[in-house]
Symmetry: C2
Amino acid sequence: MTEQEARSLRRGRAARREQREGGHGSLGRPYITRNIPVIDFLTDEGLEIIEANADTILQEIGIEFRDDPETLNIWKEAGADVSGLRVRFPKGMLRDIVKTAPSQFTQHARNPARNVEIGGKNLVFAPVYGPPFVTDLDRGRRYGTIEDFRNFVKLSYASPWMHHSGGTVCEPVDLPVNKRHFDMVYSHIKYSDKPFMGSVTAAERAEDSVEMARLVFGREFVDANCVMIQLINANSPLVFDGTMLGALKVYAAANQACIVSPFILAGAMSPVTVAGTLSQVLAEALTGCALTQLIRPGAPVVFGAFVSSISMQSGAPTFGSPEGTLLLNGAAKLARRLNLPFRSGGSFTSSKVPDAQSAQESAQTITATVLSGVNFCLHAAGWLEGGLCSSYEKFVLDADQLGMMHVLANGIDLSQEAQAMDALQEVGPGGHFLGAAHTQRNFEQAFFRSEIADNNSYEQWLADGSLDAAQRANKRWKTMLESYEAPALNESIDEALTDFMRRRKSEFPDSNV
Amino acid sequence: MTEQEARSLRRGRAARREQREGGHGSLGRPYITRNIPVIDFLTDEGLEIIEANADTILQEIGIEFRDDPETLNIWKEAGADVSGLRVRFPKGMLRDIVKTAPSQFTQHARNPARNVEIGGKNLVFAPVYGPPFVTDLDRGRRYGTIEDFRNFVKLSYASPWMHHSGGTVCEPVDLPVNKRHFDMVYSHIKYSDKPFMGSVTAAERAEDSVEMARLVFGREFVDANCVMIQLINANSPLVFDGTMLGALKVYAAANQACIVSPFILAGAMSPVTVAGTLSQVLAEALTGCALTQLIRPGAPVVFGAFVSSISMQSGAPTFGSPEGTLLLNGAAKLARRLNLPFRSGGSFTSSKVPDAQSAQESAQTITATVLSGVNFCLHAAGWLEGGLCSSYEKFVLDADQLGMMHVLANGIDLSQEAQAMDALQEVGPGGHFLGAAHTQRNFEQAFFRSEIADNNSYEQWLADGSLDAAQRANKRWKTMLESYEAPALNESIDEALTDFMRRRKSEFPDSNV
């Protein structure tokens, strides 16, 4: 075989693989750029009501900052009214402060082809974040381990529809709490070349995360560019605690992106109404975003909103609810008005298994995410049980749906070729389009190809073993892990990371707090 | 017990029942009036391109009318260019003709509280239409019977989220093809008091349906008002056949509503692109809608679009696809431009079981239905297997989702009470809203209560038997059928219907064509 023949064969294989993977390029796309308008459930009049109410909350009720005297001083110096732990803000103060934040920024990946744009018309999908449990159909529900963690990193890497490696894809409960951040950050770097998230569970763990990023990207590059994005939750209602503030300050000072997210289950941590909750979301997110700008003007920051409702029977969190959609959508408009990138959404569910409930709730949330103009979407795949469990099957079911969202966000192609007038002329009344020249020409690009859906006849489906979607997903994630190949990592970087981790881990004893 | 005590007890029961049924009133709402904007994926420029292409199709390619010389004459007299079976239309001709059609009309139910408004900002949900098979978790998949038919009528009647009794909720395969329309129409009248659909499988069956409606509503009332709505499919591409035309002519002449729906699986029955398919949809729907106005100007007519894609691997129909959403949404804009009510959407899936695939695909379609401004939604609940099978479990899963769509379509309440500033003042930083006065005051109305979703903890879910959503739905439809009570039907009307059916059935032999 000549080298030319070999190249040609490889190209053929790549084309077939591309086709199998949805016909949209084997590497996937680095992120979505929306070509469709956003939908707004909040009228302009509604927006003004919510903004005025948020101003009243900030001015009259205020926000509490716990276990962090430094932050209270920062606010005092900025001109806020500080009384004990409570800080009240003159009208317009925070809106002025956040004006230095970029409306869009690049998060760099170690593979520049994987860089993502956060803000504007762009949407970045990142995997599930935070669950202590993992589950799959074979082994059932159990505590997550570092092996599970690596598996979810590998699945995110392998999925053409996942743009980001995420953060705590599951808790590696087999590692000590005070040291597991090293292994998590390292796994993202080692087993993926997509952008990732740093630790926020303590200020020193945030410092460690930044230090590891410096080993990968270089100290100066990190100071000048965003290479990590972090999840900073408000302790709703109207509280920020010392842990989250500690991490926020480290990352903002290092010019790394914070997502300031009220974490709200409406009815418990906010009023039992959409309008009331939105005012609280705006007050909390605006406060946290402004704080990053006081620490380092121009540091990237994202207006976040993790907001859902609770069951009024049991008090349990509910997901994929219509109120959740209205909340997500309203918060998106609040963020746009501030010219800040917006984080929300995901593939949420409170179901315990990848069943109809889980799919219904997740479809509702992810569609709202895309149509509302979310810029950064955490929990885009893998989430079960209200976020307590990362599911292998759910991950690939969700990823398949994310692929469809890419097509939806592309909107309607109006090119001459897409208008297909030649096909209509060729086929005419009563004809069939499958054989038309236009169909043949557009065959490869036409229509999203799901990896999970079974569109066959009932008889064929029976012959194939009567599998449901979760059972097909079970096969799919195994194939993905089997065919996983790690992206190359520069050996000296790998060594530097390993050395750093070894040294730091030896400096303090293991602990599970 | 005094009468007052008894009344009070009944009120208490009614309140609890209302609460169980979602807190939105035990009778449900007669239809949705949307309080949210539509989303448009088709730009105004795109709209003009599609319209120009449809004009070209109508003018140059034309539409074929098979087995119906009368219709060819109608077109000739109206000024179209008729050549053999092919009819070509001068630019603008059809648009002029449909101007006599109402942009909104009332379909009357035998219970006036169930009347629905079709058009404008209104959305009416009707159940699955057409499947020869039925399935449930206990008995599996089998041919439908008149007993199944009645059960689905009863379930639609019992669901507060279903506005309409529909038509062929399943095929009663145990009855002869040429007589089953009597039993279907009678079942809708007898077992429900919601509006319903007539038979379209032959002109004389359409006549029978109208005659039965006259026995219920009175001859003059039927001539002056819409009491039935019917599904007239184009035989895409660009063909109408004699059967459908026969039914269309009967209903239009009787002032009853036709839904003129291209039934298109793009790639097979239309071009493999969204833009190409939309031009064809417009050409076909516009033609059929215009025909109703030539037969009886002012007769109610609905622009329909049943449009999805096919799998480019197998040629099998696919549902809930992103292309399906774009098609539905684009067609909605085409109908709005013509000032015609629009029919599309439903809870579609090609899955064989009520699993994650079925829920994902159905959620995608029903959300697109609500957000795109559909006015009449057939197949809103119960559909499996690309429409080949009516599922008992899927019906209640879908109905639950329809309930959520009611809340979504209501949008964001901006009333003083919903703004909840008193709750925020009362609770303050770090507090809890469950006990707040505002929460207590709004407890009953707050948040949609799903009848299917399990939001409990994993442990509680295990203790409850680890049921998935389909298994919970199985319990739910049985409860609904057990507690079903038929709405009263005037005895003399019931007798008249029974007599009519007996007489007509005796006039010709059973046949299965």
